[in-house]
């Protein structure tokens, strides 16, 4: 039976090339936009090298300090100081690991005493960083805890930088100059695509080599500083609530003791989904609004082409009315006819879905340098020499295919259900009566 449906449907599609063409193009248009959104969302939040622990990591980026004296109408916000990050996070019991890192900076890197300078992105991190993120070491290994504690200038560099400077990756123990200071190379890691802009860098060095990492000024109890990335790696996502409670307890205790200041984290620690929408240090993202916005956009992207297709379907059903009438007169049940037309549509929709998916890949490849920044209130400029390469595993995966199928099905329902149902409800005599050219 099913085979019969498909055979018939295929013939009809071939017969009506224009209809099929417009139908497929219309479907593809809607599906491609939704797929672009789905892929962006996947790339931003799923576990992808080297951020393979996103689903069990919580993120804290900023701290707000307000004076207890309510007559003073101001607040100050920014990254954590070394002091405040230790105070609030190092004592946490639930997380498996806590890692601190500063925001990336752009620095000159060269061979020692060489005049040829490369401008690269450098990250100041700690030794736990290498456990929160799973970098693939091509040679050597991360700098050790002992290195880190004593501020020994050791660096992990990316494969492409290693090749550019030395022509090889077997350079553990050799030296580079970074920001005009010498560092011993501890390890070489596989390059990170700028798609993962949260971990992208070419050089990673211990923040303890930055001589003023733990010097705070005395203002605001030394709470604000340059630790803008705090990672709390949980054993599993189930622990998130417990971590939140623990962090809030630390904050509460500080606020109770301090006579001068109140601390607020504006809803942090964040899951990855929230973290990608947090742009300001003084106010958290309105997730309800963002979700609503995205849902509306998806609906529009599906609905407008669906109205189109409904119109087309209804015109065509009008044309096929006499065919339906004849088939009904020979005993075809309404259900059978409905299934037949529905299959026909589904086939067309899947054609559209596949085209749409290809279109979305094309779109992403053309716009890859900026597509991930759409919708950001504050965007970062692509660092010199960085590439935004979407790997195959980011684009082809089960989650995305399931999404396509789902979207296709919704689209099909939206566009075929009403016109087909309406036209099939007509009386046989009515259908037979209509002579449409």
């Amino acid at each position: 039976m099913l085979k019969q449906y498909f055979k018939q449907a295929w013939h009809l599609i071939k017969q009506n090339k224009l209809f099929s063409g417009i139908y497929i193009a219309g479907t593809a248009l809607g599906i491609s936009m939704v797929m672009v959104m789905a892929i962006i969302n996947h790339v931003k939040t799923a576990n992808i090298y080297p951020e393979t622990n996103r689903d069990r990591t919580m993120y804290v980026k900023s701290i707000i300090v307000t004076p207890k004296d309510t007559a003073l109408q101001w607040m100050s916000s920014g990254g954590f100081s070394y002091k405040s990050s230790i105070l609030f996070f190092m004592s946490l019991k639930t997380p498996e690991l806590v890692s601190l890192a500063m925001d990336p900076v752009s620095k000159f890197v060269s061979l020692p005493n060489d005049n040829y300078l490369n401008k690269v992105q450098v990250r100041y991190v700690d030794n736990h960083y290498w456990n929160v993120f799973h970098f693939h070491f091509l040679s050597g290994k991360p700098f050790t805890e002992a290195d880190f504690r004593s501020g020994i200038p050791a660096a992990v560099i990316s494969e492409s930088l290693a090749k550019k400077l030395y022509g090889t990756i077997d350079i553990v123990g050799k030296y580079i100059e970074c920001g005009f200071k010498e560092f011993r190379i501890a390890g070489v890691v596989k390059d990170v695509s700028y798609v993962l802009s949260g971990t992208y860098a070419q050089v990673w060095i211990p923040y303890t080599t930055n001589k003023n990492y733990n010097e705070e000024d005395n203002e605001l109890d030394g709470m604000i500083g340059s630790m803008r990335n705090i990672y709390l790696l949980a054993h599993s996502a189930d622990d998130f609530d417990m971590i939140r409670t623990e962090v809030n307890e630390n904050i509460r205790r500080y606020n109770a003791q301090s006579t001068e200041w109140n601390i607020d984290l504006a809803g942090q620690p964040d899951t990855k989904k929230v973290e990608v929408n947090r742009f300001w240090s003084n106010v958290g993202p309105d997730m309800h609004k963002i979700t609503l916005h995205n849902v509306l956009l998806v609906l529009l992207f599906l609905l407008v082409p669906a109205i189109n297709l409904s119109g087309l379907n209804s015109t065509r059903m009008e044309q096929r009315m006499s065919e339906m009438g004849v088939r009904k007169a020979f005993g075809a049940s309404r259900k059978k006819l409905f299934n037949q037309i529905f299959t026909e549509n589904l086939l067309l929709t899947f054609g559209g879905g596949l085209t749409g998916l290809l279109l979305s890949y094309l779109f992403i490849s053309v716009s890859r340098n900026w597509i991930l920044d759409l919708g950001k209130q504050i965007a970062d400029i692509l660092p010199e020499g960085a590439t935004v390469d979407f790997s195959l595993s980011m684009l082809f995966n089960l989650k995305i295919f399931v999404a396509v199928l789902l979207v296709c099905f919704v689209m099909n329902l939206l566009s075929a259900l009403i016109p087909v149902y309406r036209s099939l409800r007509k009386n046989i005599t009515d259908s037979l009566h209509i002579r449409y050219t």
């Binding site: 005493n113 005009f180 015109t315 759409l374 950001k376 050219t437």
Partner: protein, 430 residues
């Protein structure tokens, strides 16, 4: 003709209903984007007040003590200042450079800067808030060419020494606010509040300036900057203006290649050179403006394609099913042009019917202040963008014309094909 077309549309209401619904939704979305573009283009058409073409910023760095080439003898403040002067002089002597000067660039002093330093400016009892720009020399005006409102020249502000009588320049906007119809030149004003306030004399009025190309003009006051010292050398850079029309890319790569070795002076090194136009593009990207424009353009393209496909599809089938009618009309002496015109008009009429409820719904949305950029953040109603309903009227007219062109074109494609057939052939199907 119109009446007949209306009848036609009504007779086919079942299929027209779908395209009508789509047009209704798209009209409203389109209007939102047209309004966005309208404001953007309107704001961009207002002069920025400065001229950043052919201007560049050269930044320097200082070697850290750990570096093997660090020279302790070069690190005292006297040597440092001499080296900075030499650094600037070498750039001034480089080919194509017209003016080069070591200027304060901190806190949004450069045009299109991401930084901003606000403050209050007061005369008598009237005060207003303004942006402050810190000027270290008349070269600032020679390079960035903010112009005087007196004679529209940059030479005039460039020739006045702000340090001599504690002078400042204010923009026309501030003058109007503080002094009304009177001239502000020579008047004493106060900048800042309380203990931090300081008195200055207004030396000249400058034309209004904008912080960003896509914004409206905003008030600014040009104050003498704190003189250069080792303490504030991080907020200084060498600003240059090149001879007009020097191409950017070859200049930058040539400059880096030629100057990197010779600008290693004492502990100084050449960090970067960037054109102000590139800086401007970067800041627009960082502030999300570029992305906002792109998002709107993508959405617009999407919905226009949808509309085009919808109209082409619907009209194709309709025209196919009315071939006999076409044949009759042609036999009766209707020309091909007439026929095409009729279908195009039918489509545009359909759009006209759909845009009426769209306008009603949009009116409601605007009335309810649901759109942030319309009605909420309005700075001044001297601009058309500040007058809510006038702007609404204009943008809807633009939307209508724009959509009419798309819809008309989409209807014309099948109509053109249909009108090509021979009347005999069309009639045979009767």
């Amino acid at each position: 003709m119109i009446k007949q077309l209306l009848k036609q549309i009504w007779a086919q209401r079942k299929q027209n209903g779908w395209i009508f619904a789509e047009l209704l939704v798209v009209c409203m979305l389109m209007w939102y984007i047209v309004d966005f573009c309208f404001v953007l283009l309107h704001n961009k058409s207002i002069p920025t007040g400065s001229d950043i073409s052919d201007t560049y910023v050269v930044t320097y760095g200082v070697l850290p003590e750990e570096n093997s080439r660090y020279d302790a003898a070069e690190s005292d403040s006297l040597r440092m200042m001499q080296n900075l002067e030499l650094f600037t002089r070498k750039i001034r002597q480089y080919g194509q450079v017209e003016t080069a000067s070591l200027l304060n660039t901190g806190w949004g002093t450069l045009p299109n800067s991401g930084g901003f330093y606000g403050g209050v400016i007061q005369y008598d009892t009237v005060n207003t808030s303004t942006e402050r720009k810190f000027i270290s020399s008349g070269d600032y005006f020679r390079i960035f060419r903010y112009t005087s409102a007196m004679d529209n020249s940059w030479e005039r502000p460039a020739g006045i020494d702000l340090y001599r009588d504690n002078a400042v320049f204010i923009t026309r906007m501030i003058e109007k606010k503080l002094f009304g119809q009177q001239s502000g030149i020579g008047k004493k004003i106060t900048i800042g509040r309380g203990d931090n306030s300081k008195e200055y004399m207004v030396a000249d009025i400058l034309n209004d300036q904008k912080r960003f190309d896509y914004d409206l003009p905003a008030p600014a006051v040009f104050i003498p900057a704190e003189p250069l010292s080792v303490g504030n050398m991080n907020s200084h850079a060498v600003c240059i203006r090149l001879k007009a029309g020097t191409p950017e890319k070859p200049f930058i790569s040539g400059f880096k290649k030629d100057m990197t070795p010779s600008l290693r002076i004492g502990n100084l090194y050449l960090e970067d050179i960037e054109s102000m136009t590139a800086k401007k593009a970067n800041i627009e990207y960082e502030f999300g403006k570029t992305n906002e424009i792109r998002t709107n353009m993508i959405i617009m393209a999407f919905f226009l394609l949808c509309i085009a496909l919808g109209v082409i599809g619907t009209f194709w089938f309709r025209i196919a099913s009315r071939r006999n009618e076409i044949g009759v009309r042609m036999a009766m002496g209707s020309t091909r042009g007439n026929l095409q015109k009729q279908f195009i008009l039918e489509a545009i009429l359909l759009l006209t019917i759909a845009i009426i409820p769209a306008i009603c719904i949009s009116t409601f949305i605007v009335q309810a202040d649901l759109i942030e950029t319309l009605g909420k953040r309005i700075p001044d109603d001297i601009y058309i963008t500040g007058r809510k309903w006038l702007r609404f009227f204009f943008t809807y007219i633009i939307t209508y014309i724009f959509l009419a062109v798309i819809v008309g074109l989409s209807a014309w494609i099948p109509a053109y094909r249909a009108s090509k057939i021979h009347p005999v052939e069309a009639l045979r199907e009767e």
